[in-house]
Structures are given as structure tokens and as C-alpha cells.
């Protein structure tokens, strides 16, 4: 319950933060929402030498549509996603996701950027961003670079953010009309990581066939997983039971879960199949509206 000692740094600007990160090396960590890092520090599983608190840097918290994207500032809190009218009306998948993360107190602190940058396959936003085809904006000494979400999750707890880079923005392409999404998560109780969860985003064409589909899977592998074969199974097809079934099976096949207290691997695959079916149905309903 008592974390190891560390030096606390509170930069006021982004360049200052990036500079501090570079100066203090690998044992320095960014403190944004802190809702993953601080628990690990309390158990002394994490022992950063320096914490660089970016919470006082202005201009990192926003939700806006701009240049064809929904842009979310890296420091935007989950509670702000939940409260956003824009998200509520146009991005149901994002809203679904934000409301099932941890619990209300955690969502008041936790940031979307942190949820992604932590690289934890059990976190909820990664699958959602995979389904939405998002982009990650990383700011480092050399300025900004944009990383496609498909290139972002490298390995367990590891992203393609380089040391000295800070996740400053998430860009989600504004979905065309007749789009809809859903996030379905099975958890043992509120506050738990997902036993398994599925994020689905689809766009239908005029005839009701799937024009574009994105499917992301939570906590069924060393990284969040994009179920490409499941997406392919939907392409150009109407969402009848057979199509949904085929996509769900493909999603289950894409999962590489490990057994833990939440259940054996086979169960988790089964869950992915079931949740994919249900998420597709819900997404289709939303897309049709």
C-alpha cells in the first residue's frame, strides 16, 4: 500500500514534459490518470524513479470533430467521453466502452490516452480503437507523428510509442451515415477486467449490406486483437444469421486467450463468438437508425 519513493515532476508544457521524459530515461513514467500505474506502484510491482505529471498541461483534453476526424485529447477523462453529447449521438461504440471501464471514481480520473498507452490487452479502449480504425498522435522531441492503430499495439504492455513520446491525441475517422457500433463486455463484476469483450463498428450500404466492418477483441491475447477474418466475413454481405455466425466464428478463431481465474481458454473463445454475434446485432440496429 506504500509505493516506493520517486521524484515528482510537473511540467507545464508538452515540450517540457517530453524533455523531462528524455532526461530521466526509461525509469521515468508519465502520470496521467494514474489508475493503472498507481495501483501497481502501491503493490510495488512498478517502481518508477520519476513521475512526470502531465495533468497540468493545458490543451490536452478535448473531444471535437475536425478535419474528418473525431479528435480526442490524450488527457481526456473517461467521464468526459461519457458526458459528451457528440459521443452520445454519433459514437455509440465509444460511449459503450467508456461506461463499462472500471467504476465511476476510476473513470473520473482515468484518461483515454492512458488506457491506450498502457498497452494492456485487458483494457477496453484498445479493441474499440481497432474497430474504429483510429490513429494515435504521439508527440516527441521531433514533434508529432501519427501511428495507425494497427501498428500501435506491439506486445504485452508494449506499444509503438518510443521512449520520450507522449500520446497526445486519438483520431477516429468520422463514420459515414448508416454506421453503428457496439461494445459488449463480460466481466465477473463491476470493476473487473473483461473476461472477454468485443468491439464492433460497421457501415452499411444503401442495400443494407456491410460496406465496412471493424472488430476488436479485448483480453484474449497478448495484445488487443483485430479480428480481420471476421471483418472479411462480413464484407459486402447482409447481416443475416449465417453471416453473423460466420463472422462470430472467425472472431473466436482469432482469439488467443490464456486460462486464468476468469475461465479456461475455450470458454473465452466461446464468449468471443457469442459477444460478437450480439455486438453485430446491436451495431446493425444502430446503423439502421
Amino acid at each position: 500500500m506504500i509505493p516506493p519513493a520517486f521524484e515528482y515532476l510537473r511540467p507545464k508544457t508538452l515540450p517540457e514534459a517530453v524533455g523531462l521524459l528524455q532526461q530521466h530515461g526509461d525509469d521515468a513514467k508519465i502520470l496521467s490518470g494514474g489508475q493503472s500505474l498507481i495501483p501497481m506502484m502501491k503493490l510495488r510491482l512498478a517502481r518508477p524513479s520519476h513521475l512526470i505529471d502531465i495533468n497540468r498541461i493545458a490543451g490536452l483534453s478535448y473531444i471535437k470533430e475536425d478535419g474528418g476526424f473525431l479528435k480526442i485529447g490524450g488527457l481526456t477523462r473517461e467521464v468526459e467521453i461519457e458526458a459528451s453529447e457528440l459521443v452520445r449521438t454519433k459514437y455509440p461504440l465509444l460511449l459503450d466502452t467508456a461506461t463499462v471501464i472500471a467504476d465511476p471514481q476510476v473513470r473520473n480520473m482515468a484518461t483515454v490516452g492512458g488506457n491506450l498507452a498502457h498497452g494492456d490487452p485487458a483494457n477496453d479502449h484498445p479493441a474499440t480503437m481497432l474497430a474504429l480504425g483510429a490513429q494515435i498522435v504521439a508527440t516527441g522531441a521531433k514533434g508529432e507523428r501519427v501511428i495507425a492503430i494497427d501498428d500501435f499495439f506491439v506486445s504485452l504492455f508494449t506499444t509503438s510509442l518510443e521512449h520520450g513520446e507522449i500520446l497526445t491525441e486519438i483520431r477516429i475517422p468520422i463514420p459515414p451515415p448508416k454506421s453503428g457500433g457496439a461494445y459488449l463486455k463480460l466481466e465477473r463484476k463491476v470493476g473487473d477486467f473483461a473476461t472477454a469483450a468485443v468491439a464492433v463498428q460497421i457501415t452499411l450500404d444503401g442495400a443494407g449490406a456491410v460496406q465496412k466492418a471493424g472488430i476488436g477483441l479485448t483480453n484474449v491475447g497478448p495484445t488487443p486483437i483485430r479480428a480481420r477474418s471476421a471483418e472479411a466475413a462480413l464484407q459486402g454481405k447482409k447481416l443475416d444469421a449465417a453471416t453473423i455466425g460466420a463472422a462470430a466464428q472467425a472472431a473466436a478463431d482469432a482469439a488467443q486467450p490464456s486460462a486464468d481465474l476468469r475461465g479456461p481458454a475455450e470458454y473465452k473463445k466461446g464468449l468471443i463468438k457469442e459477444l460478437t454475434k450480439r455486438a453485430l446485432a446491436r451495431a446493425a440496429e444502430r446503423a439502421g437508425k
Binding site: 476468469r262 475461465g263 454475434k277
Partner: protein, 783 residues
């Protein structure tokens, strides 16, 4: 019983709780809130291994951390003969490990420092060199020839703690041989933990000048703990004061003495400064008293019509590394022999073997009267298996076998005398409330559609309120309990008890008993517990014993006061005692109600106008030894729906009909039932302290030891019947644990019922979605 006015608020009034004022304002005083001048902080160093030899302990680096004052090891304690301490079950337990460790998270060294931070930093630097030993986690293997010997300190060179049996084996075996039907279930009551929201801890303050030791302790039984401290530590008992301040939930977890307490006392004795030791949640779950871990087999013999003939139970009890179960001395398996439940079994035989494993010690009762939860679960489970085997409605089977109301007091085949009961009445109310027939119809229709819905019944009988003293003791101390009432000159009162509330609302309910008996408004009665310097000796609060014992003592003490008050009233009214009549709050002359003296006037006279020949004052003490236990009962019905795709179980409805005799405060009783049902729900569906084969605790934090939130917790529907206890002074029985005892059976029976048409007879708790899904997959229903 005459109901008092709202002003007096005696028994039966849903009086708002007197203790709430401080809690809702953040002014409760829990152990961690105690802050003394010059207080220092302690942190325990614990073993990461489940079984290992300690080759060496090096504290040099830890001692160099600025602020570190002392690091105590087992060897240090051994010099003072304190390396081991007695448990409540006549075993002994290491305070700090010497020689070897026997479970993961076992106490190895105790670091004391000026602040929490130095203590935590130094604890990490205590270097312990371990040599790993083979780990025993499966109790079934404990008695195997090749099993590692855990307790080499004992003369018996095996892992067996006890064998205990009760009942007529020969008659039972004979009944089984002759039976038309025998049903059997192997059921595990998994290891779980009471996990009160406040963890265990203490502040030990030894004053060298006065030679007195004061310990603020998270204790459900402060007096018993004082005696243990005196016997173990050699400190004269008058020089020990235990204060149990506000306790943030206990549920059995705060009955034993833990190594941290002893270490804090030793550290305070050594340093002459107050020492605070508060365990973390993980330490609480991993090292302090667990519950259950009973591996049970039950068989029931019956005739073709479902009339039960005999019950046979064989159980393996996993007690962990030390037998630290909190049980009455003569009952190594607690009151497990209540396992014939609400049914009229002519014959029964029950045997229990206790074994050691490399797991945390304990075996305490998690909101349960000494293994009653295991027993109630087992009988309710096996009755459903029998019903299924006979293709009988489980309700009909139960009704057929209930002990009839006319048979009370009822002598059970395993030796208990049930005080009172009307099982049919509780069952009927529960069935009517839930609408059983309509549910059966709905279930049949759903099954046709392939939907899974289950109805689970549990008609449990509890056994609570230990004593009586002739049979029950803990470490030789008889299980009576006490109350002391003093009436002040202005007619107000203070009441002190040997019990200790941990949220049960004693400050309100005991005051209501006094109000009922003496007519002093409950708001004018101050109730105080937990300070051994002031409260009369008692065994504490657990096993639903407060109302049956201290509650009874309160009534008896009040009646003693009333006797004296009558003498004073007679003197004041110039009447003879025989001519006086009592109604709550006053004595009056028969036939002349205006000639009366209120209890307040009498109290004033007791100090100002004392009748000749009478002692001044108005007070009484009572040490109540109950003539028998009390036997609360009830019928619980759970209705569940199962999601075939995910294995999730939704408790759609839960009806709980309880009969706990006469009720002091209906609001508080209902609150107790809500809370107990929620714990039963958690046990049935979520909670288990598991171990992997290396002895690593699985479920050692709140991340994996799951406490349901408001979202998962079902809505509870409660109801009651009233069958007073014939031997209790005001006919009460105790209720705090009935819901935890009775509900797991209802939940599990409901899930099994939902799957019974698929051939499912039993699923072990906790019934998680993946267990259900696996069954459905196996049966080809899902996947």
C-alpha cells in the same frame, strides 16, 4: 409481549439506530483512527513460499533505512518464549516463523519504524534465504504416505489433526442397507474469507511507568483476547486493557488472535512507545482466518415415497498450516452435526477428519455459527439430489420430511434438542410470496423453448447462541455472556456488555431490551461495549450469540433491577409489594392506576430517598448461561435465469422467509438479512480463496476475491414467521447468520434445477459463468 409506546421504543419497534450519528458524519472511531503521541508503525515481512526452510534472515540492510527502530524475528521471540502462541483450538501457531514457513504470506519478521514509509521500505530489504520444500495443497493427499510432513514440531508424524464422529453408525448403516433409494452428493464448501471492509489491526501501547498495556484491537471478543494476552504474554491480567473501538465488520474474521497483535505488543513492550499495526487487504485475505474448506460427502437413505430413513456424512476439513479454527472445545467440527437440518431423520452418522495443508490457518465461521453453513448447504443440496432421483418436487419432498411442529422440542439423531419450529408455516409463506405454482408453469414452458430457468429451495435450520456453559467453552472459558445495567438518579441508564457489535446495532437493540423491561426510553439508555476495563466479562459477538446470550442477560439484569425498583416503589407508595402491578415504565397500585411511581421517580429515590434496609443505587449484573441453543429457521427461494450464450446467471427473484423468534428491532433484522443474503450470494457465485500447486494464493486481493457491488447484488424480498424460543427470556433466537447459512443452498439448487433436465445433479461453488458454460458445451447446448 406487551408492546411499548414509540416514546419508550421497546421490543418490536423499528427504532432508528443510535450509533448512526457518528458514522454518517465520519466520526466513527476505528482502530486505524487511533492516533497517539509518539506512535510508531509496523509492517510485517511475509513469506512468498508456501513451504520452505528458512536458512537465514539478514536484517542489516533493513536496519539501515532511516527511521527503522526494530526488526523482530522468530528467533528474537523465541528468546522470550513467544515464537509460538496457542490457537483457539488447542493447537499452536507460529507468531513469527522459526525454522520453516508453512503457508504463503506467513509472518516472518516485524519491522517497526517511525512512519509507515520507512517500515514499508525496510520490510522489502529484510533478506530471507529460503530453501523450498514440497508443497501440500490438496487435503485429499494430506494422509498419503508420500505426503510431505508439514508440522514437524508435533509428536505425531503425520498431517492429521483430528477425527471426530457422532451418531449411531451401526443403525445408520443398517438403514442404508435396507433403503429403497440412496442419494449421494459430493459437495465442496470452498475456502472463502469473511473480508470485513475494515482489515485487522491494533495499536499496542505499553506504558512503562504504570506497567499497563492498552491495546486498541479489531476484536469481536475483547475479554477472551485479554485473557489470552495474559496467559501467553505473562502480563498480569489487571494490567491489560483491551479496547475494541468501532469495528468495521467482523463476520468471524476478528475472533482469533493474530501474530501481528502479539508482535505489536512485543514491540511496544520493547520500545515503550505505542505501535500501530494495520494489515493491508491482501494480508487480510492471505493470512487471517479463512472459512469453510469442507470437502463433504452426504448420503441419504429413503423409501420409495421419499420418506427419509438415514443420513451419512463424511467430510474432510482442510484447516491449513495450523489448527486455528475458532470452535468450542468439545466440537472440533463445530456444530456441523446440525447437518440433518429441518428433517426428521430416524438415524444419522457424521464423521469429520481435519488435516493440515500449506495454506493459511483458520477455519473460522464466516457469518456462521461454527460450521452450520457447511451443514445447511449439504443437507439442502442432498435433499434436492434425492428429489431429483425420485422425480419428486423438492418442495413436496421437504414437506414430507419436515420435523412436525408438534414434535418440538425435537431431539435430533445427532444429539441436538431443537427448541421450537414450524417449518411448514415458513415454507408456505415463501411459496405463496414467490408464486411457486406459476413459476413451475413458466419453467415448463421455457424448457420447451430451450430456455434455462431454475427455482431453488432451501429450508434451513440454524443452531446459534452458544452456550450452554456445560457443553460449550473456548479454551476452557465457558460460553456464557453478560450485561451490567446501571440506572442513574435521573432515570437514564448505562448498559455494558460482554459482547461487541461490529455493525449489528447493539447500541440500539440492547437499549430496546432495557426499554422493554424497565420502560426507560431506549434513547435514554447508553450502551457501551468493548472496553475490558469497564464491561463485564463475556465471550464476545459471533455465531449469532449476542441476542441469545447478552440479550438474555440484559433482560435478566433488568428484571433484577425491576425487583429492587418494586421494593422502592412499595416504599414510596406506602403499599405492599404484592399490591403493585407493573406496566412498562411504572409500578402502580392494583385498582388505583393513579397511585403510581415511574421508573424515573424510583431511580431518583434509589439515590435520594432510600428505603430503610435497602442498599443505595439501582443496578444489576447478569451472567447468562442459556439452558439450550436456539434454532432459527426459514425457507428461502431463489429464481434464476441462465444465459446460454455466456453462462451468466441472473438471480431474478429471491424470497427469504425467516423465523428468528421474537424480534427486537424489525428494521435491523431486515438489514441483517439483506447483508447475509448478499454474502451468501457472493459465496455461491463468486468467492474462493484458491491455491495453485505451488501454494500461491489465487484470490488474495480484492481484484480476484470478488465482493459483489450494488450492480450484481439481487433485490431481496423478505418475510417472517414468528415461533418464539421457549427458553429465551423474551423468546428471541438470533438472526445475523441465517441468511448466509440458508442462502447458498437456495442459489445452488436453483442453478442445478435450471440444468437438471440435462442430467446435472450438482455443481460446486462458486458457480461461475465458465462452469455453467462448460456444462452447456458438454451437453451440446452452447458453443
Amino acid at each position: 409481549m406487551q408492546k411499548t409506546s414509540a416514546e419508550i421504543s421497546g421490543m418490536g419497534h423499528s427504532m432508528k439506530r443510535k450509533e448512526d450519528g457518528r458514522f454518517i458524519q465520519g466520526k466513527g472511531n476505528y482502530v486505524d483512527d487511533v492516533n497517539l503521541p509518539h506512535m510508531v508503525y509496523a509492517q510485517m515481512v511475509r513469506s512468498p513460499y508456501a513451504h520452505a526452510r528458512i536458512k537465514s534472515i539478514n536484517t542489516d540492510a533493513a536496519k539501515k533505512v532511516p527511521g527503522v527502530l526494530a526488526i523482530i524475528t522468530g528467533e528474537d521471540l523465541a528468546k522470550a518464549n513467544l515464537a509460538w502462541m496457542p490457537t483457539l483450538s488447542y493447537d499452536k501457531q507460529m507468531v513469527l516463523a522459526t525454522g520453516k514457513v508453512l503457508f504463503q504470506a506467513q509472518e516472518v519478521a516485524f519491522v517497526v519504524a517511525e512512519d509507515r514509509y520507512a517500515a514499508a521500505d525496510a520490510a522489502e530489504l529484510v533478506e530471507v534465504d529460503y530453501e523450498e520444500l514440497p508443497v501440500l495443497v490438496d487435503p485429499h493427499k494430506a494422509m498419503d504416505a508420500d505426503a510431505p510432513l508439514l508440522r514437524d514440531d508435533r509428536t505425531e508424524k503425520n498431517n492429521k489433526i483430528f477425527h471426530w464422529e457422532v451418531g449411531d453408525k451401526a443403525a445408520t448403516d443398517k438403514a442404508f442397507k435396507e433403503a429403497a433409494v440412496v442419494s449421494k452428493v459430493d459437495a465442496l464448501s470452498p475456502r472463502c474469507h469473511p473480508a470485513p471492509l475494515e482489515t485487522c489491526g491494533c495499536v499496542a501501547d505499553y506504558n512503562k511507568a504504570t506497567e499497563r498495556l492498552t491495546v486498541w484491537l479489531t476484536s469481536q471478543a475483547p475479554h477472551a483476547h485479554r485473557t489470552v494476552f495474559a496467559l501467553v504474554g505473562g502480563i498480569p491480567e489487571q494490567n491489560i486493557r483491551i479496547i475494541s473501538p468501532d469495528i468495521g465488520g467482523g463476520f468471524g474474521n476478528k475472533v482469533p488472535v493474530y501474530p501481528g497483535y502479539v508482535c505489536a505488543v512485543v514491540a511496544s513492550l520493547t520500545l515503550g512507545r505505542p505501535v500501530k499495526w494495520i494489515e493491508t487487504r491482501s494480508e487480510n485475505l492471505q493470512s487471517t482466518g479463512f472459512a469453510r474448506d469442507y470437502h463433504m460427502t452426504a448420503e441419504v437413505a429413503a423409501d420409495k415415497d421419499g420418506k427419509v430413513k438415514a443420513m451419512r456424512v463424511k467430510t474432510l476439513a482442510d484447516h491449513g498450516a495450523f489448527n486455528a479454527a475458532a470452535q468450542p472445545t468439545k466440537f472440533p467440527a463445530g456444530l456441523f452435526s446440525i447437518c440433518t437440518g429441518s428433517y426428521d431423520f430416524p438415524n444419522a452418522f457424521c464423521e469429520v477428519d481435519g488435516v493440515y495443508t500449506n495454506k493459511a490457518p483458520g477455519g473460522i465461521a464466516y457469518r456462521c455459527s461454527f460450521r452450520v453453513t457447511e451443514a445447511a448447504y449439504l443437507i439442502e443440496r442432498v435433499m434436492d439430489v434425492l428429489a431429483d432421483d425420485l422425480k419428486m418436487d423438492p418442495v413436496e419432498l421437504r414437506k414430507k420430511n419436515f420435523i412436525p411442529a408438534a414434535k418440538f422440542p425435537y431431539k435430533s439423531p445427532l444429539g441436538w434438542t431443537y427448541d421450537s419450529g414450524d417449518y411448514h408455516a415458513a415454507m408456505k409463506l415463501a411459496l405463496d410470496t414467490v408464486g411457486y405454482d406459476a413459476l413451475l408453469k413458466e419453467q415448463a414452458e421455457k424448457r420447451k423453448k430451450g430456455e434455462l430457468m431454475g427455482i431453488g429451495i432451501s429450508s434451513f435450520t440454524e443452531i446459534v447462541g452458544a452456550g450452554p456453559a456445560h457443553t460449550f467453552d473456548i479454551l476452557g472459558i465457558k460460553m456464557f455472556d453478560s450485561a451490567e445495567i446501571r440506572i442513574h438518579p435521573t432515570g437514564k441508564a448505562i448498559c455494558r456488555m460482554g459482547t461487541k457489535s461490529q455493525g449489528q446495532g447493539h447500541e440500539t437493540t440492547y437499549a430496546q431490551i432495557v426499554a422493554q423491561e424497565l420502560g426507560i426510553p431506549a434513547k435514554d439508555v447508553q450502551v457501551e461495549e468493548g472496553d475490558t476495563d469497564t464491561a463485564p466479562y463475556g465471550l464476545g459477538t459471533y455465531a449469532s450469540r449476542s441476542t441469545p446470550t447478552s440479550g438474555a442477560a440484559t433482560a435478566m439484569a433488568a428484571r433484577k433491577i425491576r425487583e429492587k425498583a418494586k421494593k422502592i416503589a412499595a416504599f414510596l407508595l406506602e403499599a405492599s409489594e404484592e399490591d403493585l402491578e407493573w406496566e412498562p415504565g411504572k409500578f402502580f397500585v392494583k385498582g388505583a392506576p393513579s397511585k403510581a411511581k415511574t421508573i424515573q421517580e424510583i431511580a431518583f429515590a434509589a439515590y435520594t430517598n432510600i428505603p430503610p434496609g435497602l442498599e443505595a443505587g439501582l443496578e444489576a449484573v447478569d451472567y447468562y448461561d442459556p439452558p439450550n441453543l436456539t434454532f432459527p429457521f426459514g425457507t428461502y427461494i431463489a429464481v434464476v435465469d441462465i444465459d446460454k450464450g455466456t453462462g451468466e446467471i441472473k438471480v431474478r427473484r429471491f424470497v427469504a422467509v425467516d423465523d428468528c423468534g421474537n424480534i427486537i428491532n424489525p428494521m435491523i433484522v431486515e438489514g441483517q438479512i439483506h447483508g447475509g443474503l448478499t454474502e451468501g450470494f457472493a459465496i455461491a457465485f463468486m468467492q474462493e480463496i484458491g491455491y495453485d500447486e505451488n501454494g500461491n494464493v489465487q484470490g488474495g486481493t480484492f481484484m480476484d476475491y470478488l465482493i459483489p457491488t450494488a450492480v450484481e447484488t439481487p433485490h431481496w424480498e423478505t418475510g417472517k414467521t414468528t415461533t418464539p424460543s421457549p427458553h429465551h427470556p423474551f423468546g428471541a433466537k438470533g438472526v445475523g447468520e441465517s441468511p448466509t447459512v440458508g442462502s447458498p443452498g437456495a442459489f445452488v439448487n436453483a442453478v442445478v434445477d435450471a440444468l437438471s433436465h440435462l442430467g446435472v445433479k450438482h455443481i460446486d461453488m462458486p458457480i461461475t459463468p465458465w462452469k455453467v458454460w462448460n456444462i452447456l458445451k458438454e451437453k451440446g447446448i452452447t458453443g
